[in-house]
Amino acid sequence: MKKIRALMIGAAVAAAVLTAAPAGAAVPSPQPSSSASPAPGVNGAPQRPAPPNKTGYASAQAVDGYLYVWKDAMWDYDEQWCRWSGSHAYWTYAWSGQYGTSAGECSENDNFDNVATSMWNNGYPGSHDDVRFYKDSGYEGTSMCLGNGDYWGNLALGWERFDDQTQANDEISSHTWVRNC
């Protein structure tokens, strides 16, 4: 089957690859996509805007076309979660539109890198409706694939693994849409 998961170019991805370097202290933090403009806090770090209304997001499930990922097992909306309609190369800034084809809509503008424990692909059906998750940012490293309509409840049971048999729980860093798993 044809996929180009090994191939990724573009400023956003490249930026992700750059910032994925171990000495990532100089990473330029993108502005949260929320309308609330973050004012600098006392230590100079931007304050997080208030988390969006979770109930509002949860009910917005009705209008769909998204990949959903949750921090906790069994699709728990009470804890941190995110969703995207497009790809995202750098889950550290999951909410930012700077690193892929869509900004994440998240329960809070917080790091989602190495966090995901359950997920659901309720993306638009048709062309490129399967999702490939990668261990590394920039669509690199070992990967696992989730078909359109499929869901995983708990990566933490010690069961689910990436295709190289390493643990997938709390290890996923980017995702992209592919033609076929």
Partner: protein, 317 residues
């Protein structure tokens, strides 16, 4: 429904006459697919591109019919919308392709545009929220129920070789289409997910194989000789994308991408890397297939049995 069932039985009978030597037990079994020691692993092969296309197209048509039954439109997705969309999981090994696409950044953009233009997306986005919700339930099912650990009666489930559990609605149009195409849905879902997983697992084993690492060292020496001092293909790709980060979309960055990718492919050819990868892939695929032979042979047989049905469906449309 009963008419189509009768047809598929006739088709199955015909198939069994032709391939009876291979899969005797498949002909006596009705729809359930239990253990099938009669199918030797040696008879299992990849579907040809034409066969894969027929199965894809038939499933898309059946999905459209199912959605129509729910009162929704669905546009069957083309099998091969971007002909140059090719998978190089290890190394770019086609210099002509590399000359056209570098590492494929332009194809990535084509995919993004394709997803934006997806007629199903436009249609669904245009529905009022309640109808849209109903349409997503029709195509993908209700989705997971938060907090629920066990499989519901309206779900299918696959336990992957490493123990992972993946589920889907058993009544979604995707599932209905596959039920009509492949017969026993729970079995089909399981073996389809397992064989997908095994394909990825084989790739991971190839890249961990010492013979692969050795071949990559030879390739790396060739790259160095051409002025591209990279240890591995992913490293070469990362360096190029870094350059594009500092000078995005410039002609210079694009030229560098193409130059590097062409060198990667030329060195791959010169150091015989594709042949080495071919041998390793066959070896690791065979080992994994032996280990999960029941799922592998069952998946192959269900695909093969679905082919005449699929051909009939696509011929009608």
């Amino acid at each position: 429904m009963s008419a189509s069932l009768a047809t598929s039985k006739n088709v199955r009978l015909l198939t069994c006459t032709v391939i009876g030597l291979v899969a005797l037990s498949a002909c006596t079994a009705s729809r359930a697919v239990p253990a099938d020691p009669a199918v030797p692993l040696t008879s299992v092969r990849e579907m040809t591109d034409k066969e894969a296309r027929t199965l894809w197209d038939a499933e898309q048509i059946l999905t459209r019919d199912c959605m129509a039954g729910h009162g929704f439109a669905y546009w069957p997705a083309p099998y091969d919308p971007i002909p140059d969309d090719r998978d190089f999981p290890y190394v770019v090994d086609d210099p002509a392709w590399a000359r056209r696409h570098g590492y494929g950044g332009d194809i990535r953009e084509q995919i993004d545009r394709l997803r934006e233009r997806n007629p199903n997306r436009r249609y669904l986005d245009g529905l009022p929220p309640e109808r849209r919700r109903a349409a997503f339930v029709a195509i993908n099912g209700e989705g997971p129920r938060p907090g629920t650990r066990t499989r519901g009666p309206d779900e299918v489930e696959a336990r992957l070789p490493e123990g992972g559990v993946v589920r889907r609605s058993a009544v979604s149009c995707t599932s209905q289409a596959q039920r009509r195409l492949y017969g026993d849905l729970p079995t089909w879902y399981r073996v389809a997910k397992v064989t997908e997983y095994l394909k990825d697992a084989a790739r991971a084993r190839v890249t961990r194989d010492p013979r692969y690492t050795t071949a990559i060292s030879t390739w790396s020496a060739c790259m160095r000789g051409r002025g591209h001092p990279y240890g591995t293909p992913p490293e070469a790709r990362a360096k190029v994308t870094q350059l594009e980060a500092t000078a995005p979309s410039t002609r210079k960055a694009r030229e560098k991408e193409i130059r590097t990718a062409v060198a990667e492919a030329t060195c791959a050819r010169e150091t015989n890397l594709p042949a080495v990868i071919g041998v390793l892939e066959r070896e690791h695929t065979r080992a994994l297939s032996e280990r999960y032979r029941l799922d592998v042979t069952t998946a192959w047989r269900m695909r093969r049995d679905a082919l005449p049905r699929a051909a009939e469906i696509t011929a009608r449309h």
